[in-house]
Symmetry: C2
């Protein structure tokens, strides 16, 4: 498969979400434009990266287009992930129901405190941090939610990378150093608060 | 002050974070380009929206530039916010230390369950949901973290908007309908997992 440019990947992710929420059989590029603000040209270009037939005189077949996007982006393959750091935020995700429905299976939680692991009730098996490499390799875990305190984030990242993790969602307000080929996405509530404040101020 | 275009606002937010992390007195647009990938032209254009003097032969004065960005984006004004929905995720934020340092003061938590409010230990005052309008108005709360279950998210949003909230950070995996002028930013771990999977697949 040809690589898809990053901006097209980001738009196709949004388009897949949009299609999943709609209750229609067909959608035209004009209707997508009205809902997203992207030009019809951009939409057609993005869709040209997909394989399969989903176009008809009535527009794109919604379900087929959604399926083609998920195939192209690899979203149809179930992925295993783990949570690292089981404080308030990390432990909140142990019971999050939507992951499995979306094809993401949470198979392990890690914390450096053995005491915390023994006390926490969890539907997911919990392990001390020193077992990270063994567990990640055994269960072929590809993704991690990193919920440790900021001062532990880089050290935990180094262990995850050494254990073979491919992608990290980082909740700590620090910039992680990772080797090329490892993907990091940062989720930071303070950044979101600042972005909202700035948008209110500047609009 | 002149409005700053949305893409420039997004870049200036990132630039302010970058400047705050550096330990240098001056930084050139070439150095910013090397760290961000933005062209020197784009950087100079973004910075031209700011007021004040921070340029010198050695480059931009880091602290002055950071200060000018924060002033322009309104990040130097403290903001009050609330948490709505005190399940695992919402209650995790009640004890988050970084908010106050960054100028965001968490002044109230709301939940529709009076029982939950009575049981939770919190350094922040908690209120039943029916007091939302009164409390938001009394404390001039401008922002909200929305941590309620998906099926309650739109109803809670309508109440927040009616109470005078200007911006919402939405953790529920639903698209909120809000009147023009109200800012929403969505934080969704499944979306982040999908974005990482897609980037791994397509790179």
């Amino acid at each position: 498969m040809n690589p898809i440019p990053e901006p097209s990947v980001e738009r196709l992710l949004i388009l897949a979400r949009l299609l999943d929420r709609l209750d229609v059989q067909f959608i035209t590029s004009g209707e997508i434009e009205a809902r997203t603000g992207w030009s019809s040209n951009t939409i057609r270009k993005d869709i040209s990266y997909l394989e399969g037939s989903f176009a008809s005189p009535a527009g794109y077949d919604r379900e087929k287009l959604s399926g083609a996007i998920k195939t192209a982006l690899g979203l149809d393959k179930p992925q295993r992930f783990c949570v690292v750091g089981l404080g308030r935020l990390g432990s909140a995700y142990l019971n999050y129901p939507a992951f499995a429905e979306e094809g993401y299976e949470l198979v392990a939680g890690f914390d450096s405190s053995v005491n915390r692991i023994e006390i926490l009730r969890s539907p997911v098996p919990l392990y001390p941090a020193y077992k990270m490499a063994e567990v990640i390799s055994r269960f072929q875990i590809s993704l991690a939610l990193l919920c440790v305190p900021p001062e532990e984030a880089q050290h935990a990242t180094d262990r995850l990378v050494a254990a073979g993790i491919k992608g990290i969602i980082n909740f700590a307000p620090v910039v992680l150093q990772v080797p090329e080929g490892i993907q990091v996405r940062n989720v930071n509530v303070v950044d979101e608060l600042r972005a909202i404040s700035a948008t209110i101020q500047c609009s």
